[in-house]
Amino acid sequence: MTFIGMNNRTRGKRLAGGTLLLALAALATTLFYATSPLFAQATSGSAEPALSGAASGSLTLWTDPKTGEVFTRPGRGRVPLILNTGGGASAQHAVEEQLQEQKAQTAKLAQQLDQQQKQTAAVTKQVQEVTPAWQDYLASYKNKVSIGTQVWFGYSLFSHTGWGPQYLTQQIWPGPGNDGYNDFFLHRGYLNFFFYPTEDWTVRVTPNIYTMQGSTANQAFGGNAGIPNTNVGNLGYRIKYAYLQYNTPFKNLGIDAIKTDKIIIGVQPQPITAWEEDLYGYRFVNLTTWNMSEASTYPGLSVQGPITFGKDNLQYIDYNIGVFDNASFHAFEGTNTKEVQGRVSIYPFGARWRFQGLGITSYYAFGYGNNTPDQAQLSTPFKGPNSEIERLAEIVHYDAENWGIAFEYDWGRNAWSPGNMFSGSGPAALYGLTPNAAFIPKSVAINQAAYANLADALLNNGRSYQRGYNFFGHYHLPQTRYTLFGWIEQWNANTQVKNNPFDFERVVLGVAYQWNEYLRFALDTQNTLFYHSQYNMPVSYAKQFNWSAPKGFTGTSIPDVVTSDTHMFMLNAEFVF
C-alpha cells in the first residue's frame, strides 16, 4: 500500500499509540466495505470519518505535520492525509472493462449483422437476375457461329455455238449448229457454316449445290423392267470446303510480321484460284484461267498469310503454300504421290489492304495425274494422264479503290487435257459417243472422230506445254453503281504443235450493277475465238503425236481442224449473304 501525499519528512515516522490503532481500524473497515457503492456517495467534510474519495479508491485522514499524529477528523494544524485504498477502484475498473468489452462485442455483432443483411440482399438480387443456362449458351453460341450463303444464277444466250471450254462451272451447251440456244441455270449454291470455338480456331463447312453430269446408262430394275437415269441435270450436293483453321500458330513466337498467319487442314482452296477470283472480282461471271483446268479446292494442308512490316503494318508479302491430293474435292485420290502448290505475292511498296497498289505474284504447282501406282507405272509411248503436271503463273497487278488491272503470263506442262478443252461442249466421239446419223452424214462423223482423236493426241500425250497471256481488270464508274470489267486471254494449248488448231482467245466484256450489299448483276458477252485460219492437218504430222485414225478414216489429212467460234451473252446474278 502506498501512502499518497506523505512527504519525505514524514516517511518512516510512526503514528502515535491509540491514534494509530484507530486509524488502522478505520482503514480495515474501509477496505472491508470498499466495494460498496454507498462509499461512493460519501463526501469529505461530513461528520462521519472522512473517507471521501472512496469512490475513486482513496481514504482521507488528517495529520499534524509537526507531531506526525494522524487523525480521522480535520482540526487545527492538521492537513489532509489521502490514502489509496486500491481494491474498490480495481473492481470498478474491471466492471468498466467488462462493460467496454461487452459494448465492443455488441458493436461487432451489430456490424456482422449488418454485413450479413447486405450479403443476403446481394444474393437475393443475384438469384433474381440469374440467366437460365440455355439463354447464356445461346447468347454465347450466337457469337461463335455464322451461317451464310452464296448463289450464282444466270441466263445465257448463245448467238453462235461451237465446241470449247466452259465459261462457268458446270455450264454446258450443245455444239455447232445450235445457234440461239439459251438457258437459265444455277451455277453455284453454297451454304457457308463457320464455327469459332476460340479465337485460335475456325471450322468451316461449305456444301455446294451443283449441276450433276455423268453416266447416262439406264438401269435394269427387276427381271423385266428398267428405270431411266435421272442424274444428268439434277442439282447434286457435295462438300466444297471442309477445313479446320488454326488462326494463331505463330502468335507466341513474338514476331509481329507473321502473327496473323494460319495453318489450314482439310478440303480447302488451292493457292491461286480463290485468290485470283478476289483480285478480279467477277468470278460469278467467268472462270479464271487456271481454274479452267484445275479445281479450285483440294484436300490438303497449307500455311498461309500476310507478312507485314512497319509502323503502318503494311502487307509486303502474302503467301499460301501447301501439300494436296492430286485428286480434287470431287474425286477419289488414286496416287501414292502428292501435289505441292505455292503462291507468293510481293507488294514492293506495301499494301494497305488485300490487293492495294503494285503487286507481283508467282504461282507454281507440281503434281501428277490422278492414277493408281500400278497404272501410273505402265510403259506407254505417251504417258498421257499418268504424267507429271506443272502449272506456273506470273501476275503483275495494280489495285486501287476504284479500279484494278492485271497482266498474267501462264506456263504449263501436261496441264490442259481434252476434257479441259471441251468442258463446255465437245465432239461426241471425244466422249466415246456416236453422233446422231440423222443429222450428220457418216463421212462427217468419221472426220469428227478424227478430230477428237487429234485432240487426244495433241493435248494428252504427256509432252504438252501450255502458254497463256491474260489481261483483266475492272473500273468502277464514280458516283454510280456500275463497274466495267473484262478478261482477255490467249491460250496456246500445246506450244509443241505448229498452228495448233486448239489455240484460242477468250474475250469477256461486261458491266456489273450493284443493287445492294447482297446482290450484284452483270450483263456481259463471252466469246471463244479459235484464231488460226482453217486448214487440214496432214496425217503424217498428226502421227508424230501418236494420233490414230478412227475406223473408216482413209484420208491423208484431217479436214477443217479449226473448229468454229462460240459467242454468248449472259446475264448473271450473284446473291451473297
Binding site: S146, W353, Q356, E401, Q514
Partner: protein
C-alpha cells in the same frame, strides 16, 4: 431474265434486296473528324459502318474468306477500304493513299 424479274419483287418483299439509300454520304469534314483512324472500326459490323459513313461505293464479295471488301471512294470525300470476315465483322480498315 424473266426469272430474275420475278425473283426481285419476291426478294424485295423479304427485305433482302432493298437498294441502298440514295442519300449522299455525310460531309467530308465530318468524316475526317469522326473517323480519322479507320482502325477504330475493326470489330464492328457493316451496318454500324454504313450508319455512320453512308452508302459505300462498292462491295466485292471475297471468295477466299466469304467476307467482303467494302470500298468508300466517293469523289471529294475520304476514301476508305474495309474488309469484313465471314461473320460480318470488320477485320481490317485502311485509308486509301
Amino acid at each position: 431474265m424473266a426469272a430474275i424479274a420475278l425473283a426481285l419483287p419476291v426478294l424485295s418483299g423479304c427485305g433482302i434486296v432493298a437498294p441502298w439509300s440514295m442519300e449522299p454520304p455525310p460531309p467530308a469534314s465530318a468524316l475526317t473528324q469522326a473517323h480519322s483512324d479507320p482502325q477504330e472500326w475493326i470489330g464492328k459490323r457493316l451496318p454500324d459502318l454504313t450508319a455512320k459513313l453512308g452508302e459505300p461505293s462498292s462491295i466485292e464479295p471475297l471468295q477466299e474468306t466469304t467476307g467482303d471488301l467494302v470500298i468508300y471512294s466517293h469523289p471529294g470525300f475520304p476514301h476508305y477500304v474495309f474488309e469484313t470476315g465471314p461473320n460480318g465483322k470488320i477485320v481490317s480498315a485502311s485509308t486509301a493513299p
